[in-house]
Symmetry: C2
Subunit: 365 residues, 2 copies
Amino acid sequence: MAPLAELDRQLRARGIQGLLCHADTERDADLLYLSGFLAPDPFTLLRARGRSLLLVSILEYGRARRESRADRVLCTRDFPVDGKPGGTPAPTVQMLAALLRRERLRRIGVPSAFPYSLGHGLERLGFRLETFDGVKGIRTVKAPREIASIRRAQRATERGMAIARRLVRRRGTTCEAVRRRVDQTLLGLGCEPGHLIVAAGPRSADPHYIGAGPIRPGDPVVCDFFPRLLEERYFADMTRTFVRGRPSPRLREMHGLVLRAQEAAIARVRAGARCRDIHQQVLDIFDEAGVRDLYIHTTGHGLGLEIHEPPRIAENDALLQAGQVVTVEPGLYDPRVGGVRIEDMVLVKRGGGENLTRFPKQLEA
Amino acid sequence: MAPLAELDRQLRARGIQGLLCHADTERDADLLYLSGFLAPDPFTLLRARGRSLLLVSILEYGRARRESRADRVLCTRDFPVDGKPGGTPAPTVQMLAALLRRERLRRIGVPSAFPYSLGHGLERLGFRLETFDGVKGIRTVKAPREIASIRRAQRATERGMAIARRLVRRRGTTCEAVRRRVDQTLLGLGCEPGHLIVAAGPRSADPHYIGAGPIRPGDPVVCDFFPRLLEERYFADMTRTFVRGRPSPRLREMHGLVLRAQEAAIARVRAGARCRDIHQQVLDIFDEAGVRDLYIHTTGHGLGLEIHEPPRIAENDALLQAGQVVTVEPGLYDPRVGGVRIEDMVLVKRGGGENLTRFPKQLEA
């Protein structure tokens, strides 16, 4: 079913008359998906009766009419409010209430992240609100156009990874220097940079530590890159762990286990697979090897307009759907040695998964 | 008064026992300010009894203890919840409720942007919630360390603007090429790029249009750059409007008016000045010249960890405070000609404003 038709169906099934979103779309992916309109300041979308209506400031009106995929665009200037500072209800609440009254809607769905102050204000005016997070679910399944964007982001990421690997090989490199160089490359390829982990040595055992300082021979270097296309706004995500020189037997063992777990997990990706089973596959391999306690995160996540989206490849019963794009990224973290993580992005298809990541997984840089 | 002491005073005055935040700090500036902890996934901060407590996942625990400025760091692992999917209350609500009960807090402040679903869930469990946006107000006044960061971001921005001006002078330049080149420069100076408007010709009359296509002689080119320091997370913001070749008399007139309005407005910036009066100064000049209807936004805004913060230099009675940093950015927008905007950043001081922007304002590139 087309995404918007599916959304309307879910709203009807829940008895929700209209879905109300209010956010800026540099930060809110649901609203970006629904509106197709990138704006740095909060604006409003109302989905009701199978149509989408935007309410934007005069500053954005012309652009919203040209660039958004809404059926109608209204201007906040046409919703005068009592602007007394500190007055109740707050101006934005007044405006949203006027819009909802005009459209004769009372039972409203709002996303989980809808601002509490606005939700509470509307409830005090007699509107009935319900949390509705259907958009998040719907946009996990990607259209061909979206998959093409993710592929483009991934090709750029691999170019960056090749540069990182080359730099790790050199003497005297630092984590900061690698990040700087990869960022420049990614930017040149149309990606928003600043989403790079290059963490070396024992501190790489903190999975989100971005890294600093010199890269020493024998150090594991966790390179986790998750850039986003500046225009299309889709993310890619991949991780490799490199070593300059000879890895210690312990590090080599950790890497071997992570690689085995990752490949076994990827082999289980297909439409209809249960997230819990894929995650369990990793746990079983680590359990058997006696390193289960060094695995401190889950196995993967969906991604798209957000870096972390459903489904979570973790202890839950969600079933993968064709068209979802998920990461598979087990890791082992020993505070004395550092971290090892290997991450690919996989497109879920009927018969299996298509690995969107093309990059070797050797430990030696 | 020190910011946190002031915050505690405001909470006491409102009868709020604890301030509860739940967000990721790549997106939420209030929580970044309070926690000093940059994390891509949502975590929890509770400010109560003059102390700050963080609740983070095991993934972030080590880093939060090292990097955050919280007094205590707890791990979500120690707050087991009933994880039944679709269960009520939702797992995060259960966890927050357990935390609040443990700390014996019932009357809770939450920021406006607190997720509606969590707020509603806590209310159903008997907690009393109130919107509290004091942090936003407190962080408008910058400490010397913060002002130093903003200055650093501004120096980088000026380097970028010098490059833009040089490129505009050249034949055959496009908006995209200018943005690409400036982005590379900003990234090399430690700024997160992707916050650039380079809009030429009539479409630059849309203030937020980022621009595309060739730059023709005589076109106004609005260059509005608002990069953020990747590490310190502070923004700068400046705009210049350039022309290659000879500007038309109409464009020259628009530029002259904007410049006069901007300088008159800047001259009014000082601690104690009323925002409305500064904005009115611009309106008066445009009114007198008969171009009032070509001015479609407000005169400026505070900035810091967010690009748009209070105070708004607009029709409101807020008084500027020493230590605030505000933009002053009048503009005129004629759909047949394009836009002209000039923007500086000004530090509010007792006797007047210190212009943090050092860059000429000539129209001719």
